[in-house]
Amino acid sequence: MEKELLQRHLHFNRRRFLKGLGFGIGGMALGSLLMPDLFSKGEEETAALGLPHFAPKAKRIIYLFQNGAPSQLDLFDYKPLLNKMQGEDLPPSVRNGQRLTGMTANQTKFPLAGTYFQFGQYGQARTWLSELMPYTAKAVDDLCFIKSMYTEAINHDPALTFMQTGAQQGNRPSMGAWLSYGLGSENKNLPAFCVLLSKGKGNGQGVYSKLWSNGFLDSIHQGVQFSNGENPVLYLSDPDGMDRLSRRRMLDELSALNAESYKEFGDPEINTKIQQYEMAYRMQTAVPEITDLSKEPEDIIKLYGPECLVPGTFAANCLLARKLSESGVRFIQLYHQGWDAHGNLPQEIKGQCKDVDQASAALVQDLKQRGLLDETLVIWGGEFGRTNYCQGKLSPENYGRDHHPRCFTIWMAGGGSKPGVYGETDDFGYNIVKDPVHVHDFHATVLHLMGLDHEKLTFRHQGRRYRLTDVAGKVVDGLIA
């Protein structure tokens, strides 16, 4: 429909086109405006998408990725037994053949390490939570904790890639790219999939652009990385000496000359090019407006904490994420580095929590007070868990934890997710004893909340229909409100 509409419009001359469409139809999906092959007969999938498969609960996602894997045992999954057995060896029957990373594979002992931090019960549901998360503690009743997440990878790169693309290796599209492909965007002046990066002081593990890659989908579905420099989006700002009027004159000139070319060659790509320049022009205004946090009122600044005015911090990115989401960006992916606490965990985790606790809780509360939480799914978590035993030397004040794939905790909020605690691990915090949720199940569930059937959201590539969930995954009903 939009396609037809646009096509019809394109036969008008440029000025009438701009008047009729470019500045007029506010709600039109960016997905189609950006659609690269708007006028050619593309793949079957391209034409079929842009609408959910069934009524969605969530319209947008904000994913607060905690890069490096936060320790579930020091934050969410309270295991007093570990404190009781402090220093004792992990029973082999519990470990039960779990493969180890090269960092602890040579350890002769696996001394159990209870958390250094106090846990308490919060909210009406009396949910257990660490003292490291005082702000999150106030929001617990809105959160859906999954204590029984598990993955297959034991190293960062493959685990992160798995969590974001559904495959440990390979150049697959990431979650955001799939959603951009499946649903398009709600805002014609902003990309459907935005990426915001920040770093803590803890042991960092880096991020990679393949995590927000379009994989085999069109490059239009690639995550657009926002930076905290003067150019919030790459190459967005006009160069010095170019004011808006001059830019407008240049675009008019380009448009007229390109139209001449279209008259001669009839290649629809020429008209698409004209459109894309107009879109770029509008982005130049829309993006800086959105990324300008200086006009946020006092109470909002207070809510997110003073760091939210420091560009490039996790807090600033949370606030920016709220603004982008509010403007209709489909998927906003944050990464916060620094959770990889192989040693010095007590010290490092304090800093990490200070970076993220207030702003994460603020984001949930902010969405809620705007009435947006129902339609916005917030996800918080890392790529795997951490071991219940100590890596390196265990002392009363210090310990480290290695990577642990068998269980970890993430939380979701809003977007049709069900507040409460889902899944359970054993008293050692090592194995899942109830309601395991595999990464594929998690993806299937997230897509379901967005109104998409994970088995139907496919793209044919190299002779095969690919999915975010590969060949597995089931929707976890217990996570859905």
């Binding site: 880096g206 000139e253 020429i270 290695d402």
Partner: protein, 766 residues
């Protein structure tokens, strides 16, 4: 032989690809290869195909004997009874409206067959339900040249096939493109650079019959030809300058990249090119050059993450090598058989590990330590010094005096047994397998081919291998026409697209082999064809009948690949530094990109931009850090080099507009060309024309000239009112400013040129 001829005739009679022509028609003979198997493959093979572990009801439809056999689960019934559609259970099932009976089942999400497709099956069964070997696995033969009605149109063999096809489809081909546009197209296709004004003038002045051919020969002889050809191969070979995982430290594989350029420039035959890359190290008395060629199989990513399990990654590297070989050289998705039998193509999981076994006997290990002990190459390595470079490896652009190392292939002294890995898991070996190439393609006869990588190399370039030549010819066709004769250039298997002109593809493949796998000869054949030389104008009729230009009813029109967008801008401004090869360079890049994503470890944690000449090298030399590839390149659909890629996307996006509008590279080029023109004693009109000719490679029309002159005058007036803006406009790039010239005029000229760079036609092959 008879099979393929039969098949070709069938195609000629009723070839109708679903993808290109909408609905299939059901008149005439039904071809298994071109009509039935695509449907079976798409809708049935998932459960009734080659994969034994997912086979339902013991029914297999990819083999005639099984399809004709009595059904095990339904007494007295047959899936297919040749000649008797009414007795064939398959037809009943695909046409049944009953969801509990219907095939494919609704919960498979494969979708029901359309009535038209059902009729095709009915017809095929009534015609005898004849099965054929997959077209791509039958060795190609040269069909006699067709005889198009318009005998004057064809210039060479390509044109006979194309004209014949167009006549069948009732499409009129285009006239020849105008001289200027054709020359731009040719120059871009052969060198990746637009013609200079001098080249254009010389060509325009040459009215000889062989003027065009002379230019073809001249361009093929330039060293830029090798650079142009190499870019595609670097995608195939997933070439990059860093290790790729996590900390992503620097590596040194660029001497191999220099070898690729050299190989194309010296017109190394494709068979030799492949043998060198697959097994150069195993050739008798292998030279350093031959060993260097094998770096092809070492270009993939290597982890330096602390704590990995070495064997997990060693296997991952073998998987990558096997995938690259399969997709890049054989045009097959062999990796599908890593975890289970291939669902569509006749490769078992055992076939897969037998192929992988060829690569499993090198000295490579899974893990050499983390980033703190990172080296520029990983074992096995090739070392070479200045004296090698002065003597045998003269094509390597080596600058420092120390010894260099490159990761290459090298066999172990003892034989390592390869195991089939259950579900593809490194820690789940089952039966042992011996090295062998997939028999469905061509048997691996050990009396001819030794059971090692060298044997695989020889098998690959055997004259009877049905795929190698076809796949390469198709990749090359794609380079020139923007689309292969087989659109899915990386998948010639059953799920791949069918060739739009199978006779042409086969003729070219055979001809290529018959002439010693001579690449320049093939390139020349293509660019001197009438087909290639057509105008790109699209008529409504062509748009209707050949929207994708799959049948070459017009000349190829497409936006330039990322690297060549940059090259065009640099070369037309005069900034391009034409040095070939050497270490990759770091030109302007928006600040903070590497820094915001890094773990902080390794020498690539921060982007240290280069200066002077290194700012103006061709796009193919821009440093590729895999975890944060050059942003402008990705925006223009360059491969991220994460894996073997044989076909790039081609999008048209607002982010591309932003790059062209605001990238300092483009702005600096505009400024430098402006100051060059300003130094000439010419009128502003002449300057505008000249800039236009340099950038667009043609003379402007009267309308264009007038528009641009008006625009220039407007900008001039604006800058006159605001000299400060002029000064700011000019302050871009590190290339020296020319002093003592009027800044206002220069800024207006720069803006005009900037506008020309942003025209759609500028970065488009037209």
């Amino acid at each position: 032989m008879t099979l393929i001829t039969g098949c070709v005739i069938t195609i000629a009679a009723c070839f109708h690809s679903k993808t290109d022509n909408g609905r299939p028609d059901t008149s005439g003979d039904v071809s298994y290869n071109f009509d039935i198997r695509p449907l079976l493959s798409d809708k049935c093979f998932k459960c009734h195909g080659p994969d034994a572990s997912h086979r339902e009801a013991h029914l297999r439809l990819d083999i005639a004997d099984s399809a004709y056999a009595p059904l095990k689960n339904t007494k007295g019934a047959y899936a297919i009874v040749p000649g008797k559609p009414e007795q064939s259970e398959l037809l009943r099932r695909i046409s049944s409206p009953d969801p509990s009976y219907q095939m494919p089942p609704t919960d498979s999400h494969l979708g029901a067959l359309t009535p038209q497709e059902q009729r095709l099956f009915e017809k095929w069964i009534s015609q005898g339900a004849r099965y054929e070997k997959h077209w791509a696995f039958i060795p190609p033969v040269k069909a006699p040249l067709p005889t198009p009605k318009d005998a004057r149109w064809p210039l060479n063999e390509i044109d006979f096939f194309v004209a014949h096809k167009l006549e069948q489809l009732d499409i009129k081909p285009n006239e020849e493109a105008d001289k200027e546009r054709l020359f731009k197209r040719l120059s871009l296709d052969l060198t990746g650079l637009p013609p200079t004004l001098a080249q254009m003038d010389a060509y325009m002045a040459d009215n000889g019959k062989d003027a065009y051919e002379k230019q073809v020969d001249a361009l093929l002889a330039t060293p830029q030809y090798g650079e142009k050809m190499a870019v595609h191969w670097l995608d195939v070979a997933r070439y990059a300058d860093s290790y790729g995982y996590q900390d992503d430290n620097i590596r040194t594989q660029w001497p191999w990249r220099d070898w690729v350029i050299h190989a194309f420039n010296t017109n190394m035959p494709y068979d030799k090119f492949l043998v060198g890359q697959i097994a150069g190290d195993m050739l008798p008395n292998a030279t350093k050059e031959q060993i260097l060629a094998t770096a092809f199989f070492r270009n993939h990513k290597y982890t330096e993450e602390g704590g990995v399990v070495p064997e997990e990654y060693r296997i991952e590297y073998l998987v990558d090598k096997t995938r690259t070989y399969g997709k890049g050289i054989l045009g097959l998705t062999v990796e599908c058989a890593q975890c289970h039998d291939h669902k569509y193509d006749p490769f078992s999981q055992k076939d897969y590990y037998s192929l992988l076994a060829f690569f499993n006997n090198t000295k490579e290990i899974g893990y050499e330590g983390d980033v703190s002990v990172s080296k520029p190459a990983k074992m096995p390595i090739l070392s070479f010094n200045d004296s090698d470079v002065h003597n045998t490896l003269s094509f390597i652009n080596k600058r420092d005096t120390g010894a260099m190392t490159v990761s290459v292939m090298g066999e172990r002294d003892t034989f390592r047994t390869t195991y089939l890995l259950s579900r593809g898991r490194y820690d789940a070996p089952t039966d042992s397998v011996r090295p062998a190439a997939p028999k469905a393609i061509m048997s691996f006869d050990t009396t001819i081919f030794p059971r090692n990588r060298l044997g695989l190399a020889k098998w690959t370039v055997s004259r009877t291998n049905p795929l190698t030549a076809r796949v390469f010819v198709n990749q090359l066709w794609q380079e020139f026409f923007g689309r292969g004769i087989v659109k899915s250039a990386g998948d010639f298997g059953m799920q791949g697209d069918l060739p739009t002109n199978p006779q042409l593809l086969d003729w070219l493949a055979v001809d290529f082999m018959e002439h010693g796998w001579d690449i320049k000869r093939l390139v020349k054949q293509i660019v001197t064809s009438k087909t290639y030389r057509q105008s790109t104008r699209v008529t409504p009729d062509q748009k209707e009948k050949d929207p994708e230009n799959a049948y070459q009813s017009r000349g190829p029109r497409s936006r330039l690949p990322a690297e060549f967008v940059r090259d065009l801008v640099l070369s037309t401004s005069g900034l391009l530094v034409p040095t070939i090869g050497g270490p990759s360079v770091k030109p302007y890049q928006p600040s903070g990109l590497w820094e915001s994503a890094t773990s902080g470890r390794g020498v690539l944690a921060t982007y240290k931009q280069d200066h002077h000449d290194s700012l103006y090298r061709r796009g193919m030399y821009t440093f590729i850090k895999l975890t944060v590839p050059p942003p402008g390149m990705g925006i223009f659909d360059a491969s991220n080099r994460d894996q073997c890629e044989v076909r790039r996307g081609r999008t048209n996006t607002p982010l591309q507009a932003l790059v062209m509008l605001n990238d300092p590279t483009v702005l600096e080029a505009a400024r430098v060309l402006a100051q060059r023109l300003q130094a000439e004693q010419t009128s502003s009109d002449e300057k505008i024309t000249k800039a236009f000719r340099i950038i667009l490679c043609r003379k402007p029309t009267a309308t264009e000239q007038k528009r641009l002159t008006d625009y220039y005058n407007d900008e001039l007036a604006t800058f006159k009112n605001s000299p400060a803006a002029a000064k700011k406009t000019l302050a871009v790039g590190e290339y020296p400013q020319q002093k003592n010239i009027d800044a206002v005029i220069k800024a207006a000229l720069m803006r005009l040129i900037d506008t020309l760079y942003n025209l759609e036609e500028t970065i488009t092959k037209t």
